[in-house]
């Protein structure tokens, strides 16, 4: 009987053959923390250990509120800088032009690597599965314990196999697929499971599209989500890998799955998640014409250069009807967008561009909503009050749908402006 991806990776790390349901204790590779490294440090000190287990395995990336919008945030950042110095943390991305959204940095800087077990004190750590990593989000106490011991427990998850074939039609992208999946299986549809994306359409997808899919695995409850570490992944990671301890691993053909789903991209259409849950699917036709007050193109889900290109194609030579906030996922994405003239396209269209970071995604700053306002967003969560006010509404959509909607000031079908 074959093994799933999760069984293989966790089994290799545990040094034995394992199956779903077993508990293993393993040493993770890279451990990522963002601005919450400060409170984690507070918990770490209570354990009674002086030094973190491997300073080269910790990665700190400031992104949640940068540059600091309040003195409380500034204090946290200051403390993180002190910890970096004291513990000799090798990988630290401060408020500089090397930084950006933590999950984007982890991928573009060569931390996200095939076969590595990676944890992060952020729920969207599952993004690194796009590069064949087994990566998952954990809480702060658990991260503190991992810093101290270099060990973490996992129950080997059951797996869900999602096989995708076909081609996207014009105006449709990976975001529409994952919103459709969330609508179909609901927010708890993959609770505790490892999601494996299979099929020819996944191989056709860019790494950016695969990141969008894996990023939102958590929104359907998954422990991790992963795509095959194919040649596209290997070509990307080989020149930048931060360690050579990775190994391309994938599920056996006869692996056993708890659930299997099949999608044909040709059936997917532009869509949104309506307020206030990610699984509240609606096709674009059902919500077209809904007035909006703000459009947000950003976040770890959809602010890579590929996403900005899709949005810029729609905005080029036109003017937005509502305030539109563009936040590239990292400064390297920002620079690339400048080189390609996309920043000019956004500015000419009337968009506001802010520095790479999480921005308004979880209501910290740079685009908080007022009561009664509606935002269409490329981010991953539309929970009530997520963008700062509980009387506001968030619709989640693809970069193309967000751009098309920004032009009209109401939710719009991107196929009509392409």
């Amino acid at each position: 009987m074959g093994k799933t991806f999760a069984e293989k990776v966790l089994g290799k790390a545990a040094g034995e053959s394992v199956s779903a349901g077993q508990v293993v204790i393993v040493e993770p590779h890279f451990c990522m923390s963002h601005d919450n490294a400060a409170p984690i440090w507070g918990t770490f000190k209570k354990i009674g250990v002086d030094k973190v287990w491997k300073p080269d395995h910790l990665v700190f990336i400031l992104d949640h509120a940068i540059p600091a919008p309040t003195d409380k945030h500034a204090e946290n950042h200051k403390q993180i800088r002190e910890v970096v110095k004291e513990q000799g943390i090798r990988y630290f991305y401060d408020v500089t032009s090397k930084g950006g959204v933590c999950h984007q940095i982890m991928c573009e800087e060569g931390f996200a690597l095939p076969g590595l077990i990676m944890v992060g004190s952020d729920s969207h750590t599952c993004t690194y599965g796009a590069f064949g990593a087994f990566s998952t989000g954990i809480g702060r106490s658990e991260m503190a314990a991992t810093w101290a011991t270099g060990q973490i427990w996992f129950r080997v998850p059951e797996s869900m196999k999602i096989t995708v074939k076909g081609k996207f039609k014009k105006g449709v992208s990976a975001k529409d697929l994952i919103l459709k999946i969330a609508g179909d299986i609901k927010a708890d549809g993959a609770d505790y499971m490892s999601i494996e994306f299979h099929g020819p359409a996944i191989e056709e997808m860019s790494l950016a599209e695969r990141m969008t899919l894996c990023n939102m695995g958590i929104e359907i409850g998954a422990k991790n989500a992963v795509c095959p570490p194919d040649q596209k992944v290997l070509d990307f990671i080989k020149p930048i890998a931060k360690t050579d301890e990775w190994e391309a691993m994938w599920a056996d053909d006869d692996a056993v799955y708890a659930q299997e789903l099949n999608y044909d991209l040709g059936d997917i259409e532009p869509c949104v998640a309506k307020p206030h849950t990610v699984d509240n699917y609606a096709s674009i036709g059902e919500v077209k014409g809904t007035p909006i007050h703000q459009a947000f193109l950003g976040s770890c889900t959809n602010a890579r250069i590929e996403d900005l290109r899709l949005a810029a194609d729609i905005l080029k030579g036109k003017e937005v009807a509502v305030r539109t906030i563009v936040i590239p996922a990292s400064w390297s994405v920002f620079r690339q967008a400048m080189k390609e003239g996309l920043i000019d396209v956004f500015l000419d269209a009337g968009c506001v561009i802010t520095n790479p970071g999480c921005g308004p995604c979880m209501g910290n700053h740079e685009g908080i909503l007022a009561p009664g306002e509606t935002c269409i967003s490329t981010a991953n969560r539309n929970f009530k009050g997520r963008m700062g006010n509980k009387e506001s509404n968030i619709y989640l959509a693809s970069p193309m749908t967000v751009a098309a909607s920004a032009l009209k000031g109401e939710i719009s079908d991107p196929r009509e402006v392409l």
């Binding site: 508990v23 945030h73 809480g139 658990e142 849950t277 209501g363 910290n364 929970f383 009530k384």
Partner: protein, 175 residues
Amino acid sequence: MENKVLRGKAWVFGDDIDTDLIYHNKYLAETDPKKMPQYSFEYLPGKENFAKEVKEGDFVVAGTNFGCGSSREHAVYCLKYAGVPVILAESFSRIYYRNAINNGYPVLFVKGLSQAIKDGKIKDGDDLEVDLEKGEIRDLTNGNSFHGDAVADLEMDIMKAGGLIEYLKEKAVSK
């Protein structure tokens, strides 16, 4: 964790109660767990009074996927330090479940609870009796009973130690 029968009132919630509803991101900068209960469920319509009115010993009763969303531990602390002794839910999101275990905070998986809530078989304000060890839950207000499964094995060891940090300290001492 002693085997005792707990009594308290039920605060009943539906499915997919996310971490922003339990503890809103507006208060994430708070680092003192004891100050977190005042913000519990502030963003959840109909439950805005929870923080003010919850009494030590009251139970949180929920449907499926309780605690979905963010990895914030605040969403565990705000209930633990409000004196809620255990969360009863049909299922928990994975990170919420781990955060609870790692803080020595009991949770029970109760089959059929989501439907029972929808059918009004367990309601806000009902008097509950919960035997944590046996997993028996009785609604004294209407006589309905439910069964909850406790966590097992390693998770139980962590819980018994009082949380992951305490568990690690014990292990270090016994080595």
